[in-house]
Symmetry: C2
Subunit: 279 residues, 2 copies
Amino acid sequence: MATDGRIVVACCQIAPVFGDPTANREIVAAAIRGAVVLGATVVVLPELATSGYVFADRAEALAAAETADGPSLALWHSLASDHRVVIVGGFCELDPNGELRNSAAIVDHDGLRAVYRKAHLWDAERLIFTPGDASPPVVETAAGRISAMICYDLEFPEWVRVAALAGAQLLCAPVNWPACPRPVGERPAEVVRVQANAAVNRMYVAACDRVGPERGVDWVGGSVIVDADGWPLAGGEASADAMTLTSGCRLGEAADKGIGGLSDTHADRRPELYGSIVE
Amino acid sequence: MATDGRIVVACCQIAPVFGDPTANREIVAAAIRGAVVLGATVVVLPELATSGYVFADRAEALAAAETADGPSLALWHSLASDHRVVIVGGFCELDPNGELRNSAAIVDHDGLRAVYRKAHLWDAERLIFTPGDASPPVVETAAGRISAMICYDLEFPEWVRVAALAGAQLLCAPVNWPACPRPVGERPAEVVRVQANAAVNRMYVAACDRVGPERGVDWVGGSVIVDADGWPLAGGEASADAMTLTSGCRLGEAADKGIGGLSDTHADRRPELYGSIVE
């Protein structure tokens, strides 16, 4: 970390190979090494970066799944240790109870710090994966307090709030945003929602998307790093290209929820009035 | 309402005269008549449209305040009745208990349908007004199910969710957005958050801002009408000009929370996991 508290966050917008964890380990390793060259100390990978996304059924997902102590996360730990980086990436998990999970790992030089299991499953994912029931973790790392959630989770501002109230300074979100139409000149809608999530919580957000058409599905390719005011620092435009985005981030700014005068994004909440949203 | 369920929503981005409710009645009446000529059946006015915003102290606000049965809302009822429109506007309220409130009225040909009192007070407003403790109302009107909240309320996605879960198809938000710097090429941040609020709830939102510098404070002038996918239909760019924006809206679309495949913005929520945000 630089003396001014500035760290470099990277999103590795890669094109995973469907159903081939071995190939994806190589792709991820190359991408992380590239991010390190760019100065990154936090590296975010897409959702299901070990396996690809468009599973026809549960059996296909099971064939590509790994446990959290499997070879992909072992590699990520090795890379985190060699390069002193924090890695947040999505993987297709076979959990200790034999359930398939759409998961994200937070790994640093100490090893696997947390596994998060996607709580809000998009579309047909619910036919394949078991949803998680645990809150997004907030992990104290050398780079700052980092949380993780996955793709569709970001569409539920309640869930983002849970992470922010628990002290996250940077929310890392592995995503696979399927491409869909938008009006000419408009930024991808998913990016707009990331901006709002960041601003209303005074929290940095780094969402790492993927590219590479898979079984007829195309992707936004809209990886974005936004600051605590919700402004994009890097990315946020649709792209078909694999790339690594980086930006300097002063995560300490996220500790101050003040937004001018007497106003404060968290202290001004009225939780006693929000009962109907948890019924 | 047209046979296809399309109604016209208008935002009257006016420049109120500070501390002059009489002058503001004339400005509002002219603006509403102009919106009616454009086909509007729902007309949204700014926050504190009766009084202006930049009060030095409580005494100044008290001098410009009216009760809900005062002359401004009586005029709004008369206009709503004459033109068969629904009016949602902000007013400086002296409530029945003698408290000052930053309020919004929903008025139609039947009269005053609801008074909403701003629950999240921005900056120094808290030194002048008493915050409301009641949820945003959802009123069944000839145009559709309409809710209201005010300006800074929109920065709390929990509060928007309360209105949406209660069945709002169109959230009307009187606002006074103070101008602040933003990166070149970026849409005003307040508009970005309106877009996100709409999209994650599949609900239309019409935010009506003001113009006209007041005691050194300038405004975004970013009134915007967004559809249930969060795309701006009209407005959303900063402007110093008074204007009336209109757009056709099919509010019935907001009854369908489906967003493709098996996904649904409301049914996919996991309220049992959101407990920490109401503590």
